[in-house]
Symmetry: C3
Subunit: 191 residues, 3 copies
């Protein structure tokens, strides 16, 4: 990997120092570019992880775990009701409707979203299916196909496992003939 | 992080220069390896993003957005019809069958694919479910479970957000008793 | 990118050597940190790939391909039966029940899991839907929504494409009113 010590006594010290200084500067610039690129992929993976983690948390009734994915004043704007802040989110998870669903057996199954990253802001657009156990054994019913637009910001330390990402606004609309889900999906290329 | 300036006057200048030259060479080799590894993860994420982005684009009727995921002469070989080039793709999105489906309410929900990367070529194998709003309120019908093999090539600049990836051939077959979907899935380990 | 050779003859050689030694040390420390961070993202992508690759392998009847995702003595603890080691896994894939399902037409469709990484150990929590072709044309039935907890260890070489990851234990439970699936999902934050 490394070359042997230069055996050339004829290269003057001044030239060797200058070459080293130039080489070190150039390596530092490449290192900075690699660190930036590395940060971007770590951010994208952290955002995929955040989006994916909503589902097991909500389906196991982990109200705090759900809430802490959002900023304190974050909003979950879903067609079945607007949830505001951590209180709004925890109340939904603890509410009778949701508790009934998870006791019966359901999954808010997340598909693979598209993540657009722009510094400390990001948008993820994707689908979740709400699939609920049917009264017929060995059958599940798809009750909702939901279009989701997650708007995220870095609000915590970048060196945390979640790289500081929190949801500021998640907008969710079932894909129906009212066109609202479709319009959300149509914004997937918008940061 | 950094050590203090060496206080050892007894190490001759020649030896210090040689050690620096060797150390810089070695750091450059590690940097090159890190850049290569970094490129691979960025490529894999870009391919996941490309595959994921098909669904919101097609479900929102974004014909150009769908087409530009493919190369100009790219092919979408689906059991319901062979689509050739950007024209074939945009015509499908704008066609009555697709427009009817998205106006009614549907999702081409993407699962998590497996990506095999080999330089400027890649293959992603995965599933999409076509889930359509039922006439019964709060019900959706899974109309297709599709096996997908995406063959991709880098055709654009590597420093673009998409890292230059385009679809050359997407083959899609419903998983039925004709075994075609199963055969596509059986090629998931083939690059 | 690089600065021109230093034109300052007044900086003594000793000071330039010391600055280079300090600069190289500092660059090496950043490089080591970048290599570690790079390894983490490569691990996370390798684990996503492993989890995703189960489905096309099992749905195409690739018994060896399924088995080799696990360690030799790995376990697949699913509510329909405990599968132990590569033999247990290959027997399941080759068994009449599974062969009947894949000949009929089905997909074990994977959602996006949450990956928690801790050195050479990892846990991925996610969902799979078993969707089977219905007797009615153009219809599929969701027969299971399964909560999955994949416990993985690095057992092979880190420089392999799979970065050495193998499944030690996959626990899978349908989400029903027995609460077992829900309990598995409730452990998604546990490494």
């Amino acid at each position: 990997m490394s070359s042997p010590p230069s055996p050339m006594p004829s290269v003057p010290i001044e030239a060797r120092l200058a070459a080293l200084e130039e080489g070190l500067d150039s390596a530092r610039a490449r290192l900075a570019a690699a660190e930036t690129a590395q940060g971007r992929v770590a951010d994208e993976l952290a955002i995929l992880r955040l989006v994916a983690s909503y589902s097991p948390r909500v389906d196991s009734g982990d109200a705090e775990g759900v809430a802490e994915l959002w900023t304190d004043d974050g909003v979950y704007d879903v067609d079945t009701g607007l949830l505001e802040g951590h209180r709004g989110l925890t109340e939904m998870v603890r509410g009778d409707a949701h508790q009934g669903l998870i006791a019966h057996g359901c999954g808010h199954v997340p598909g693979l979203p598209v993540v657009l990253l722009d510094g400390d802001h990001a948008v993820a657009t994707g689908y979740t299916q709400l699939v609920v156990r049917s009264s017929r054994p060995g059958r599940y019913t798809v009750m909702r196909v939901t279009a989701n637009r997650w708007e995220l910001e870095r609000r915590g330390p970048v060196d945390a496992t979640d790289r500081g990402w929190r949801v500021v606004l998640r907008t969710a609309r079932a894909v129906t003939d009212d066109g609202e889900g479709r319009r959300l999906l149509g914004r997937s290329r918008e940061g």
